[in-house]
Amino acid sequence: MDRRHVTGPERSVAPLPAGSMNEAVATTQAQTAMFFDTQRNRQDGRTIDAMRPIFLKTGLINQASGSAYFEQNNIRVACGVYGPRQNTQAQFNENARLDCGFKFATFACDKRRQFQRDPEERELSQILIQALTPAVRLGMYPKSTIDIYVTVIQSDGWWSTLAAAITCASVALVDAGIDVIDIVTASAVLVLPDGNVVDATQQEEQALSAQPPKCHGSLVVAQLPTHNEIAHVVQTGKMTPAQLTKAIDTCLGDSAKVHSVVSYYLREAVLATEPSVLA
């Protein structure tokens, strides 16, 4: 029994949209067909190889050492970095420890989430740590911890949200002035039998994953763009090695585009505050 929150009824469920129980199977085929027209254009007007536009802002949270806000249409992610601060654990560690708290706001997804961190959020925290660690010079901060807190205000597509969170956290690390060897940028694709769908929305993910599983999977790649190195790969579903290679290439191309947006923004931000730095 949760005594720390204002509690409502013991049990509550999200209502179902009318007709969703019996017609669900029949509509998926039609829905998928609906997602792409003959020119492979999507419902929101994008082609299948186009990402949603990115909005980025640093310094949102003035109490944090560094922070960033990342928006891609309906994806809104905020990240605050606290540190490097003292590692309270007794054991000496010559490297800094990265800690990540990944949290969806309770209203961020279609289904309401709980306040307690669930296993999915813990998994996402781990993914974030693994993706960011290659870029951070942990040896510069012995005996300290760097805490990265990510809050998803709204998610639209599980994989795209993960990619957005990785990029956002990396920008927040830069804003905090933490030594990094590169900015980590990430992007997501859905792999279908006849091509890759870049930066899929929630609606697209649902419709496409309801298809008969001929050959279908998802992929998120985080890379260090200027080093031309891959920091992390998350792949699920079924795909052939050839498809995987092609999908990774697509992801690398996309995250390079994300990198150009991020570096342009950061350059402008620095120029606005300290024009002499880049002179």
Partner: protein, 285 residues
Amino acid sequence: MAPDIKPVVLSAAAFEKIAPEEFYKRFVQNNVRPDGRSLERFRPTSLQINSVTTANGSAVVRLGNTMVVCGIKAEVAEPRADAPNLGYIVPNVELAPICSPQFKAGPPGELSQAIGHQLNRILDLGKVLKLDQLCIEEHQAVWCLYADVTCLTYEGNILDAALLALMAALTHMRLPQATLNEDTGVVTTSLTDDSTPLVIDRPVYAATFAMFPDQVLLADPTDTEEAIAEALVSVVLDDQGRQCCIWTHGTQPQDYTRCTERLLTLAQQRTTTLQSLVTANAPQS
């Protein structure tokens, strides 16, 4: 020979850290605060409504550097046996470690619990809205509105920001038309867009003041001001300027009652401003 004593020259930042009370006193004497505001001035307040499309209603509130997001999710639940036609509103406030280093990860701390319960009481005792409009089918199904306020950046006065976000989200949210299937016991929402807004009987808004010695009132205190204030007073008024509730925390100066009139006047002005802010911000279509 007398030792050579040099006067200590402190930077303003160091002075603030070492003697915050004295630091503030110097400012207050000149009727100004360190952030440039006059004593009775609230921080710039802005509002963005229904920008979170996964929620049934939402509001983003910025109160200076305090920023909160309120998202309302409507779910279906069984009504209480003693109130078969009344729905539920469940407000909660989350102060996660992202918004300030003073909050720890894990279960909610005392402040977020306290604010959550204050919001609950305001909704309940303030008769803000009638819960029978949340009824789907008497004795069987009612709406349960989970109104969760997440803080993104924290710089004091969370009650004002949270209540404003909650009120704005409630005012502009829409409930889908729902029907209960008697045979299966499943509640479905219609696919056509015939959602309805809620009827808010009595919108309420909060104005918080920090009290300092000699009847000095600071409106809309930041977290540093909250920490060094003698007392905090939160006045909750409705849109007509009628009192809903008043909270005071801390030791009240003996001449507290003499401030009350001034407090209420300021709170009434503030409520009028907030009410027009909420009604002026029609949701984005």
